[in-house]
């Protein structure tokens, strides 16, 4: 078997008194995809940053082609880390981003033409249909990711480290990414692949390394493991019943929210649906189908030009989130970091921000806030050593729990939750599913928007499918299965009228 | 029009200028460029310029005065270009923000055949100007020093508040220091107060805290002096010292008139000089009256005896 291209021996890392990695060994060979899995907080990100030279190891050695290297030299060796949050200059063009910091020059001037040609060539090799002259801010998430990879591939790329690359991609976009990874692999690039999605890991990787609580648990050939085994290694026990059994409300449960003919210019046309007490209503569709925009339109976060909204049969005016909150509707954004939490502020201030009026009229009752935080940490199992840390220091899963807790402070009777488990580990995912299930059982109506098919199928009592801004179908009962949803989502089936499909 | 014709003494330097060519019937345009009203003295300057504009245009129907004010040297240079190219002036009366940066812009105006009157702050090349009207900064320092020396009997401790670091300030302070060189007057401290009341108040408060014994304050400027007066009164030390300002602000002249022990005198450096310059220029252009090449205003000492003739209650300054 080939010698490893990159190897790490006995890597430990401490942040102050806290040790997050304990003597981990890891290696990756040229032309291999090596997956790294583990729950949030297992130390994957830290290990990855050490490999890519963003962080120094407290102990241990890193070797590239047998020679030791330090944190400073990683980039020159062709080791590239692609973050979950992209590292692109939004206002620059694709080609400018690809060559950022190492622009081609002719004398003192930039050689624009050479850069454009080279960018075109690289993108072409990656079969990536992005215009080099387009501005990054106009690109979709998956296109941005392509640009990141092109940026890496345009230099001498030897090791590519990817952190949850498919978290923000649709299935078909993921398929394009996988083709790309395979091509890089064929060119002899070593790929380190971090993901929570075990089916993908199974599909794309050659070997799997599992981390748990900063310790190396196993490194095995992917062929020797099935998904259940991987999950077991990650959490240290068997996971059964990912989704709690469905418990739909009685057919005569009252309609608590009725949306009629809502249009959000540029995104959604004439959308109508009903939501019943105690129901979990799934919203499925491809990325860009307008699901988020529909909800934001309902909440008054986007301008809507038509449509009415009724609560318990009575029309309500909702112009902003304040009105929505007053109507008992709460919304959890999919953009946790950009719109959900103040990353620089402590947990307590985040928790009570939406419901601050409930914590004292003139002066804020900080004791009540502390008590609420204690309750939230307990009820939502937010894992944090020191509640005084800023929210940005929490892992994705704990941030999501905090956001949930924040939303529940206003005691809503309708909860709209957008991509509830994006970028979250298996264990936390299950906690969130249980929680949503529990909400519904307590009579709260829940809307779940998700791009993960399994999640929709596993959770929802009914499913609304959207395509290009219109509702193409509302599925019930046995009709809630993958094929049916995909057909509606891609336009193979369904009408502009909201036909109820049940089997 | 209220002006201080009495203070003019034409220094007979250079030739009498011949009458300007027969211009009497045609319209004459006179551009006036001065610094914007950013402190008391320039405020007075703007007021007097506006008064002169009104009066001259009334007196000479063929005269058109274009008055512009600028808040820094670069803008003043732009103003000059506009005066020539847009207004097509025949004569320029300018009180330059600073000497050196404006010398060349004024030279350009001159090169296009315009009559140039420079006021107060001389250009680095005096050959450019046709007429120069100015206060006498070194003399102002000298007169101030002489008065303080005399009043203190040649011996005592004083503090000095300076203006804004400029040529004018340097000329005044240098002449002042030279004059007291041989006396027994000790300058305890010297700080910039930027020709500003608030700064005068602040600097004087600190001087009062720092020096237990002060016999006199040379504030150099009446705005500064007003701040100093407040600080001294606050400290309750008005019997210990006297304050000498400068310029001829009506509030200060009033105090001198009223025999205020704290402000026994003032030294003139009148902003009305702009009106003088405008009038002389206008007379020369319109009536063709011959003029001197230089008019230097004396730094007159104002005391209770002569204060009344320098008191102008209507002026904003």
């Amino acid at each position: 078997m080939a010698d490893p291209l990159l190897s790490a021996e006995g890597i430990s890392r401490r942040f102050g008194p806290v040790q997050v990695l304990f003597g981990v060994d890891f290696d990756v060979r040229a032309g291999e995809v090596h997956a790294l899995i583990g729950e949030n907080g297992a130390g994957k990100s830290t290990l990855m940053k050490i490999l890519a030279g963003y962080l120094e190891a407290t102990e241990g050695t890193l070797r590239f082609a047998g020679r030791p290297y330090g944190a400073g030299g990683a980039e020159d060796l062709g080791i590239v880390l692609i973050h979950q949050e992209f590292n692109l200059a939004e206002h620059l063009t694709v080609e400018e981003n690809v060559f950022l910091g190492r622009e081609l020059r002719r004398g003192f001037l930039l050689d624009r033409r050479a850069m454009r040609e080279r960018a075109h060539q690289v993108l072409g090799e990656l079969e990536c249909p992005v215009d080099p002259a387009a501005r990054v801010r106009d690109l979709s998430v998956s296109e941005r990711q392509m640009v990141e990879i092109a940026k890496a591939a345009s230099r001498d790329l030897r090791v590519l480290i990817m952190d949850e690359p498919t978290a923000v991609l649709t299935k078909s976009e993921s398929a394009v990414l996988f083709r790309l990874i395979r091509r890089l692999k064929d060119q002899g690039v070593a790929v380190v692949y971090i993901s929570h999605k075990l089916d993908e890991v199974k599909e794309i990787s050659d070997r799997v390394t599992v981390l748990r609580d900063g310790h190396l648990i196993a490194t095995q050939s992917t062929g020797d493991l099935d998904q259940d085994a991987m999950a077991q290694l990650m959490v240290g026990r068997a996971i059964s019943d990912m989704y709690p059994p469905k418990d739909p409300p009685p057919a005569d449960a009252p309609v608590v929210l009725s949306v009629e003919g809502v249009t959000v210019p540029g995104w959604v046309r004439d959308a109508s649906f009903d939501l019943r007490r105690g129901e979990i209503l799934g919203f499925a569709g491809l990325v860009g189908a307008g699901r988020t925009e529909l909800m934001e339109g309902i909440l008054g976060l986007r301008r809507r030009t038509a449509g009415t909204i009724s609560r318990d049969g009575a029309r309500v005016r909702i112009r902003n989130v304040g009105d929505a909150t007053a109507a008992g509707i709460a919304y959890l954004t999919e953009d946790r970091k950009g719109k959900g939490l103040l990353l620089g502020k402590p947990l307590r201030e985040n928790l009570t921000l939406l419901a601050l009026g409930r914590f004292g009229r003139v002066l804020i009752d900080e004791r009540a806030e502390e008590a609420a935080l204690e309750r939230a940490v307990r009820d939502f199992d937010i894992r944090v050593r020191d509640p005084g840390v800023p929210a940005g220091a929490l892992s994705g899963g704990n941030q999501q729990k905090l956001l949930l807790a924040k939303t529940m402070q206003v005691e809503p009777s309708i909860v709209i939750i957008d991509e509830p488990t994006r970028g979250i580990d298996v264990g936390t995912k299950r906690q969130i599913y249980l929680f949503l299930h529990d909400l519904a059982r307590r009579g709260i109506a829940v809307v779940v928007i998700s791009s993960e098919m399994a999640e929709i199928i596993g959770l929802a009592h009914r499913v609304v499918v959207m395509r290009s801004g219109t509702i193409t179908g509302i599925l019930e009962g046995a009709a809630i299965e993958e094929n049916e949803i995909v057909r509606h989502a891609t336009g193979l089936k369904g009408t502009d009228r909201n036909a109820v499909v049940s089997a | 029009m209220k002006r201080r014709l009495g203070v003019i003494s034409a220094a007979m330097a250079g030739l009498l200028l011949a009458p300007a060519v027969g211009v009497a019937q045609e319209t004459v345009k006179m551009g006036v460029s001065i610094p914007a009203a950013t402190h008391g003295w320039t405020g007075g300057l703007n007021w007097h310029a506006q008064q002169a504009e009104k009066e001259l245009e009334e007196r000479y129907p063929t005269l058109d005065v274009v008055l512009v004010s600028a808040s820094d040297a670069a803008r003043q240079a732009n103003d000059l270009e506009d005066l020539v190219s847009i207004h097509n002036i025949d004569a320029l009366v300018i009180l330059p923000f600073e000497s050196a940066p404006l010398t060349d812009p004024v030279r350009q105006v001159k090169d296009q055949g315009k009559f140039v009157t420079v006021v107060d702050r001389g250009l680095t090349d005096p050959g450019i100007q046709d007429l120069y009207v100015a206060g006498n900064n070194p003399e102002m320092g000298q007169v101030s020093a002489r008065y303080i020396e005399e009043k203190l009997g040649g011996e005592g401790k004083i503090v000095v508040l300076r203006g804004i670091p400029t040529v004018i300030d340097n000329q005044r302070v240098d002449a002042f220091m030279k004059e007291i060189e041989d006396s027994n007057i000790e300058v305890l401290g010297m700080e910039y107060a930027n020709w500003n009341r608030d700064d005068g108040f602040r600097v004087m408060q600190d001087f009062l805290a720092r020096f237990p014994e002060i016999d006199a304050v040379w504030a150099q400027d009446d705005d500064i002096a007003l701040g100093v007066i407040e600080a001294v009164q606050q400290a309750g030390r008005e019997d210990e010292m006297f304050i000498l300002g400068g310029a001829g602000m009506k509030d200060i002249i009033r105090r001198v008139m009223d025999d205020d022990k704290l402000v026994p005198a003032d030294v003139l450096y009148p902003p009305a000089m702009i009106a003088e310059a405008m009038e002389i220029t206008a007379r020369h252009l319109v009536e063709g009256e011959p003029i001197e090449k230089e008019y230097i205003l004396e730094a007159t000492l104002v005391t209770p005896e002569n204060a009344e003739q320098y008191y102008y209650p209507d002026s904003p300054f």
């Binding site: 748990r212 959900g340 620089g344 502020k345 894992r383 | 300076r162 300054f317």
Partner: protein, 333 residues
């Protein structure tokens, strides 16, 4: 449920948080320097002088702390102060006839200053929120407007308060309680109320939330525009309070009144540990920052050791060092 590892995140530095205590350390160092330079520095007279002087900038800077915390800025405060002072003086002089020269006319002047400053703050706020113009541009514009209005009002010269009214009004600056002047008392009252609002009321929390991330604020049901508008109005109120104690000092206002106060107020806020980009306000830090700024000046005036030509350089160095002190402690991750 079980078992992902607890988050490893911790507070950046558990010990002495320089971001919080930095301004006060810098202040202490400066006081020490003052004592070394001249023992007069610690005399009660000098301390009262310095704090009284600080009051104007300090009161305005407390308001600025809120504006900056919301991620905005107000460049117009200096000329707003000059304008309010000018209008108040004109009003008092005009009302001296019907109201006499007693406290009635002074109160009328105070009311005028308040009305004008609040209106000016409201104007800034409305232009920023409803007009959707950057605060920098809006307040740069109103800065010029207020400044030239006061110049116009004064005919380019100086507006002077009628001397009999001034005699009534004078104690507001020069008088005090228990040897502490009224401006100082007002300054600390404003700071205390400001701190209470910033740290303990929903409004303060909302200001910080908007400054850290406006989207999050919007998604959290905060009326972003209203909070920003109120911050500008509060700034106007602070300007008015500063004007009320400023006018009796010299009894005048001119085109130079309040010149560069905006920069001093902003500097005080930043030295105090508030980030210019918003999101976190420190009211007591601002108080320390304002005192630091006046102290530098005071110390330089109390020594003859440094050429007066270098005053500006010394000020610049001290300001930068003071900020460096807190940032270097905070920037390590």
């Amino acid at each position: 449920m079980q078992s992902s590892a607890p988050d490893t995140a911790r507070r950046p530095s558990a010990g002495l948080d320089l971001k919080v205590y930095g301004p006060f350390l810098a202040l202490a160092a400066l006081i020490l320097l003052g004592v070394l330079v001249n023992p007069v520095f610690l005399s009660p007279g000098n301390i009262i002088n310095v704090l009284t002087r600080t009051a104007f900038i300090g009161i305005i800077a407390v308001g600025m702390t809120f504006v900056i915390t919301t991620g905005n800025i107000d460049l117009s405060v200096g000329s707003m102060a000059a304008f309010a002072a000018g209008v108040a003086i004109v009003a008092m002089n005009a009302l001296a006839g019907p109201l006499g020269s007693g406290w009635a006319v002074v109160l009328a002047g105070v009311a005028v200053a308040l009305a004008f400053s609040l209106a000016a703050g409201f104007l800034n706020g409305i232009l920023v929120t409803k007009g959707r113009i950057e605060a920098f541009i809006v307040t740069l514009g109103t800065m010029g407007i207020f400044r030239s209005l006061v110049t116009y009002l004064a005919d380019g010269g100086t507006l002077t308060l009628d001397s009999t009214i001034r005699a009534t009004y004078r104690p507001v600056y020069y008088g005090g309680l228990f040897g502490i002047s009224y401006p100082i008392l007002l300054f600390f009252a404003v700071a205390a109320v400001g701190a209470l609002i910033m740290y303990r009321t929903p409004f303060g929390r909302y200001c910080a939330a908007i400054g850290s991330n406006e989207d999050v604020a919007r998604y959290s049901a905060i009326k972003v525009d209203r909070v920003k508008l109120l911050a500008f109005v509060f700034q106007g109120l602070c300007v008015a309070l500063a004007v009320i104690v400023y006018v009796p000092r010299l009894g005048s206002a001119s085109a130079t009144t309040g010149l560069l106060w905006e920069l001093e107020a902003i500097a005080a806020v930043i030295i105090g540990g508030t980030m210019l980009k918003g999101g976190h306000g420190r009211v007591w830090g601002t108080v320390a920052g304002a005192v630091i700024l006046t102290l530098i000046d005071n110390i330089l005036n109390l020594t003859g050791a440094i050429s007066v030509y270098l005053n500006g350089a010394i000020q610049g160095v001290i300001i930068i060092v003071a900020v460096l002190l807190q940032r270097s402690g905070a920037s390590r991750r």
